[in-house]
Amino acid sequence: MNESQPQTPDMTYDEATKKLEEYVSLMQDDQCSIDKLSEYTKQSQQLLEFCRRKLTETDAELQKILADIQKQN
């Protein structure tokens, strides 16, 4: 379980992947400054974690909401 909270809790999955692709393309540029590199890497890693967690970790709150709806129907 990851300790550090991502800096993007309100981002949607789609927004996160889009931002990731932006970072990758920035880092593809040979002119990318070394100073920025550290920041981009850090941000990208956080975004990757955020996305992966969305896919593979259970959102208990969401589960409860859906269980309630199912009961109603």
Binding site: T17, V24, D30, L48, L55, Q70
Partner: protein, 447 residues
């Protein structure tokens, strides 16, 4: 054939008649076992189909007018349990639908008239191909109608979210298909999490359309919460798919705001519903696989981004490192190299200066020699010229000298010391001196 004699009436004025039984018997005679009314294939529509506990199937056969509502012909019919047992299976296998009310059928009937029960048609066989053809025709009509409504591809054209995790499921709980579906999603190999919510419906019989529509409406009210809809039912059973050939149901799915996966579990011809869903799968398991694959693709994409990022990072760091190495070496070697280069340049310049100045001096010396020679030559030339000229002048002077004139025999005449060139300068009687080449004499002018 009981030709009973008429009963004589007790009262002479009342009319007489035969018994109903007798009359019905006559009808029976006409109808029963007539070749034209036995084992005839008849086209009709089923109505009021009821299967009793004893296994007999009672129904009405009807024919409707062009408006589709007015009944123009009808007859009661029965399929006895032994036949029905076989016919039911034959029909279901042949059409993929259960034998039910409101179907166009072709049946082999035998007419029988019973004095007590009246006319009944006994059905002994059925040709499912007729019904199948009719169902196919109706299905095609509905599809055409949806096409002309312009909606048939609407659900297919909805964009899928990158992450499809929240799924509304329409199914009958307890159906094996539903259980398999949930199981597969919850135990997938990638560790993907899915969130499902079941909206119950009857997935066969005449309650199918209303219950599925009700479920769809319930989902629509919560459409923000879900990302897609899955309609599934028990795999294997190919019975009663006819319920899914419904225009209203198809219309609702076609225009649904979420993409719909249709997996109503059969191998055969597609129902109308199959045509309007965004994705069509053959079994509930395949529906689960589809969703898992979407998630797996996302994981793969994230992995790819991660790899790309790491590669780019490595690349950038390597280049930076190389550059740094180069620079650090250059800081040392560059000055040395430069000094060397400059030294060579200086040597070169020194050589050049030496060479050039030598050349220059030599050139000048050469020029001086040349000038000297030229001066000498010129002076000589001038001397020669002057000499010649002098000689020439001397000659001319000599030639022109009076002496030379005298030598040539001319004489000079002087008068009072003046040389005379014109005769008018003297008058007769003047005394003149005549000079000759050698000597002179005096002479007097006479005229």
């Amino acid at each position: 054939m009981n030709n009973q004699p008429r009963q004589p009436s007790l009262f002479p004025d009342t009319p007489s008649g035969i018994s109903l039984c007798e009359f019905n018997a006559r009808i029976a005679d006409c109808v029963n076992r007539q070749p034209q009314l036995t084992d005839e294939w008849v086209i009709a529509e089923t109505s009021d189909v009821r299967v009793k506990a004893n296994g007999h199937c009672y129904l009405k056969l009807v024919e409707k007018g062009p408006d589709g509502n007015t009944v123009t012909a009808q007859a009661d019919a029965v399929i006895w349990n032994r036949e029905f047992h076989q016919l039911k299976v034959k029909f279901e296998q042949g059409t993929g639908a259960a034998f039910n009310t409101g179907m166009q059928v072709m049946v082999k009937v035998t007419a029988s008239f019973h004095t007590q029960y009246g006319l009944k048609l006994t059905i002994t066989d059925i040709d499912p191909r007729f019904t199948l053809g009719d169902m196919a025709r109706k299905r095609l009509e509905i599809i055409k109608r949806l096409q002309s409504d312009g909606v048939i591809d609407n659900n297919k054209q909805l964009p899928w979210p990158a992450l499809t995790q929240r799924i509304a499921v329409i199914s009958a709980p307890g159906a094996a298909g539903y259980g398999d579906f949930i199981n597969q999603l919850q135990n997938n190999a990638y560790g993907l999490k899915f969130y499902t919510c079941l909206f119950r419906a009857t997935m066969q019989g005449n309650q199918t359309v209303p219950t599925v529509l009700r479920a769809l409406n319930a989902i629509k009210r919560q459409a923000d919460l879900f990302q897609c809809v899955v309609i599934i039912r028990g795999g294997g059973a190919s019975v009663d798919l006819n319920s899914f050939d419904d225009y209203n149901l198809a219309l609702e799915v076609a225009q649904f705001p979420l993409p719909v996966i249709v997996g109503i579990g059969h191998e055969r011809d597609e129902t109308v519903l199959d045509h309007v869903g965004a994705v069509r799968v053959k079994t509930p398991t395949a529906a689960a696989e589809h969703l898992i694959k979407l998630g797996a693709d996302q994981l793969a994409l994230l992995e790819q981004l991660k790899t790309q990022m790491e590669t780019n990072l490595q690349h950038l760091l390597t280049r930076a490192r190389e550059r740094l190495t180069y620079l650090s070496q250059a800081v040392v070697t560059q000055p040395l190299t430069r000094c060397q280069q400059e030294r060579i340049k200086l040597n070169q310049l020194a050589n050049d200066i030496h060479r050039l100045s030598s050349n220059h001096i030599m050139q000048r010396q050469h020029r001086i020699s040349e000038h000297r020679q030229a001066i000498v030559n010129l002076v000589n030339q001038r001397l020669t010229l002057s000499h010649d000229r002098l000689t020439h002048l001397t000659k001319v002077v000599e030639l022109l000298s009076p002496r030379n004139v005298l030598n040539r025999g001319y004489s000079l005449v002087r008068h009072h010391g003046q040389y005379i060139t014109q005769a008018s300068q003297v008058k007769p009687g003047d005394l003149v001196t005549v000079h000759l080449k050698e000597g002179h004499f005096k002479s007097t002018v006479t005229e």
